[in-house]
């Protein structure tokens, strides 16, 4: 049986501090409830252990005053259950008892009771003990609130810091993971399988020669805006931006089983979304510009590289170097792909013109590798 003790002094609005009084003696319940209500606390009551546990489960109180000798489950049993449950373990429990022997106190302590109150209950003692527990409760809540605020601020700072380099979705994931697994951008460098995509601007040199600095910077910003948006669209991580080239990694720092597909779609977006901009520039400035892309997969090293004073989170290794070489070879609107990536994405290439270049010797590679040239722009303009 349970009821809300209405009392004339019961606060009408949402109470700040809620006490559950559990006792099979209605006079004790009424007495305790009245004293607590006179202190501005909200009181719920239960006449036995089972009702008390149901009430706690439905709406966890801030404090439980628990009689020991009750029909059915004793106060010790109820206290033990509350303290054994992670969801209710932190709710303070005061055992209210006429049992004066030390053995009963020991049983209460073993059951997890936070404090004891002797029957007959003295008004001043009850109020003093409850107020002390309330102060502890408020302090704990305040500390928890500060901790949560600090945690939110820390995650927001991480998200902001990384959102310059990675997609907002990835930044959110990193901020989430920061509390559980630590910062994925820290720690020792490691080898991992990844897909590297390099993109650059064909005709960039002429652009810089023929235009004012301010105009060049504005055009580059527009160009990089398109490329980074495309990378973020497919959750790529931008590792480097230099001159007119952009290095994007996939499957890093979080696993992406479809990394090759993501890289291909990114390349398509880059070329396709830049095409109308290039056309406008052509009309305005007479420049022939376009994006060339190289994509390669393989094992590389990922980590922070640099000195104590300056370091960058980057990827190093064969797939990165090969992607760079392929990008250099790619014509405007062309995506050059190494063999393993081609095998992963060939099902996506219908409608695109594909030229097998055979095994190509690339500077820095000991053996020739199979290369495929895919026309992205044709699909984008189709």
């Amino acid at each position: 049986m349970s009821k809300v003790a209405g009392g004339r002094n019961a606060p009408a609005a949402q109470p700040e501090y809620r006490v559950l009084v559990v006792d099979d003696d209605p006079d004790m319940v009424g007495f305790l409830a009245r004293l607590l209500q006179s202190e501005g606390m909200a009181v719920e009551t239960a006449a036995d252990g089972a009702s008390a546990l149901s009430l706690v489960d439905a709406t966890p109180p801030d404090l439980v005053l628990l009689d020991v000798m009750m029909p059915g489950a004793s106060g010790f049993d109820v206290c033990r259950q509350l303290k054994g449950d992670e969801a209710t373990a932190l709710i303070p429990v005061v055992l209210v008892t006429s049992l004066e022997d030390s053995e009963s106190r020991v049983r209460g302590i073993e059951a997890g009771a936070d404090d004891f109150l002797s029957k007959p209950v003295k008004r001043e003692e009850l109020i003093a003990r409850v107020k002390t527990l309330r102060r502890l409760h408020d302090t704990r809540k305040e500390l928890e609130s500060r901790r949560l605020t600090a945690e939110v601020q820390r995650k927001e700072a991480i998200r902001k810091a990384f959102s310059r380099y990675i997609s907002p979705r990835l930044a959110d994931r990193i901020a989430e993971a920061a509390g559980e697994q630590g910062d994925p951008f820290q720690g020792r460098a490691q080898r991992t399988n990844l897909v590297a995509l390099f993109a650059d601007l064909r005709g960039f040199t002429r652009l810089t020669e023929k235009n004012e600095v301010g105009e060049v910077v504005g055009m580059l910003n527009e160009y990089f805006g398109i490329l980074t948006d495309a990378a973020y669209q497919h959750d790529g991580t931008i590792f480097n931006m230099a001159g007119d080239s952009l290095l994007v990694g996939f499957n890093v720092p979080f696993p992406q089983p479809d990394a090759a597909e993501r890289a291909w779609h990114t390349a398509l977006e880059m070329v396709g979304r830049f095409a109308p901009v290039a056309a406008a520039w052509h009309r305005r400035l007479g420049l022939d510009l376009g994006v060339g892309v190289g994509i390669c997969a393989g094992e590389a090293i990922i980590g922070n590289v640099g000195s104590e004073h300056y370091a960058s989170y980057t990827i190093i290794g064969n797939p990165v170097n090969t992607a760079a070489r392929l990008m250099q070879m790619a014509a405007a609107g062309e995506v050059l792909i190494c063999g393993p990536v081609f095998e992963r994405i060939r099902h996506l290439l219908s409608g695109h013109r594909v030229d097998g270049r055979g095994d190509v010797a690339l500077r820095g590679r000991s053996e020739p590798i199979p290369v495929f040239a895919v026309q992205a722009a044709a699909e984008a303009s189709a």
Binding site: D27, G30, S98
Partner: protein, 101 residues
Amino acid sequence: MTNSNPTVTVAKDLADLIPVFFKNRHKELESLRGALAREDFEQLRHLGHRMKGVGTSYGFTTVSEIGKRIENGARGSDRNAIEACIGEYADYLSKVQVVYE
């Protein structure tokens, strides 16, 4: 009998609880008599224990004192002692006066 006209001072904010308190005490008295007739000492011990806890909480020290004696008497199955306590309790309840402050 400790006092022919005992008077108890009770806090004003408990005043509206006192009629129910006395109603429950009279029920308790009947329960004590019934338990004694059955010689149900476990029930007598439980009732005495409850009286001990609730009496002084409200300001009725005598209720707690009698309750404690009933609890002890029940532990020793002392029928005569309990009978005397019940008589004392009935007398007390019939005479006690309440003053609110």
